[in-house]
Symmetry: C2
Amino acid sequence: VLTPLFLKLQMHDVLSDHEKQLLASAISGQRRVSIGDDLVSEGSRPTVSTLMVEGFAARYKLTADGGRQITAIHVAGDFVDLHAFLLKQLDHGIIALSPCVVTMAQHTALREISEHAPHLTRLLWLDTLVDGAIHRNWIVAMGRRSRASQLAHLICELYVRLKAVHRTDGASFHFPLSQVEMADVLGISAVHMNRVLQRFRKAGVISWVNQTVAIHDWSRLQEIADFDPTYLSFAREPR
Amino acid sequence: VLTPLFLKLQMHDVLSDHEKQLLASAISGQRRVSIGDDLVSEGSRPTVSTLMVEGFAARYKLTADGGRQITAIHVAGDFVDLHAFLLKQLDHGIIALSPCVVTMAQHTALREISEHAPHLTRLLWLDTLVDGAIHRNWIVAMGRRSRASQLAHLICELYVRLKAVHRTDGASFHFPLSQVEMADVLGISAVHMNRVLQRFRKAGVISWVNQTVAIHDWSRLQEIADFDPTYLSFAREPR
DNA sequence: CGCGATCTTGATAGGGTTCAAGGTCCGTGG
DNA sequence: CCACGGACCTTGAACCCTATCAAGATCGCG
């Protein structure tokens, strides 16, 4: 169950066998979460951090007037709430966007790692830093890009991240979000989401049917998105 | 020069004298940066992390079509690029929004801390996690709040953060951004920024003149913003 | 086969952008 | 000491992107 996490961490730096064992022993249990259920709920003070093994999940916040904004999308190999290890209280909910399989890392075990395995600690820290880098790119896309560019950027990001954990199939990937959920990611209405999407389909850049996104013209998509994957830190170097 | 940093870290957890000394010995030099100059430039691979001693700075990204989006505002006590310690390459620029005084922490020293001072390491990690929490709140505000609410939220956030490092004066604080810069924070046009602001002034919620923001009706501002400061983790507890 | 969820489309309204111009403030130099 | 220029703020008007409301179409599942 740790394969996707190892794949991702190894995109950043080498992982020793000992470190793999440390992670393996920090992890325990396996849980299935049905679509629509919270993996972790807002305001809770978890004593474990949840690691995605399979499926899609999202961090989200609800606003006073009934709106929802998704602030992150998580896939296999992602810790959905590693930050709660130190933040203690979760400032957002985490919902399963598809049936999910997850496993748990005890905070006591993470604490042990932070006490005795500095390099592994830095890699976990880095993982949360990449979360932050992704957040920043979302902010830029929301604030200063067209909605088309924003959508294109998100698709590029997801493709690169999914590829790293072997969840792509050629130029396409399974993507089980509804258009309403996607609208909550981009911060737009569902109607507009649909219209932006259709322009993409008509232009032949991507298709998105049957919960499958297929990229037909990567270079054009990347150009529309103004996408540079550097921020994901998928370059193996000493950390 | 470390006072603001200590104040902020102590909002999260107790700092031992030894940890203060470690930080003090990690820091060296002092630099003044003129308004408009980059503290650190995009794409660089810094070997030090820059700590704000005085002034205001912003992380920003430029888009292909000439736009600018500010993704974070930094004040005294903030590391503007602590994440570059592990990310290695900076994915954004950092500009001085006012004359700034900064000091530097060598990455080699930070690495030593991460090897031998686990609790302090966790506090530094936490500092970057709070950055992430702030990012998430910006995303929510950009995506699902009115521009008035977004502005209100930002002012609440800045007030609480500045108060933690003793940079407030009663219900007001020095705030040297221009309206154009503020527009680049919120992701709106400068004209609209001005109009949102004026509605606030006329409603008597805040005033913003002479580079000074004064909050006249905190509870109303907080209500408009739907602001809950929990995400800043200013609750001292073991981390 | 029928129903709910999702997707699609049309029409209307409003928030926000852009363009443009006038006003204010302040530092600089004559 | 005052004129000048630049940066910033303010205001108006037209236009466009996007939200909202509403209804019809399609899909998937029991």
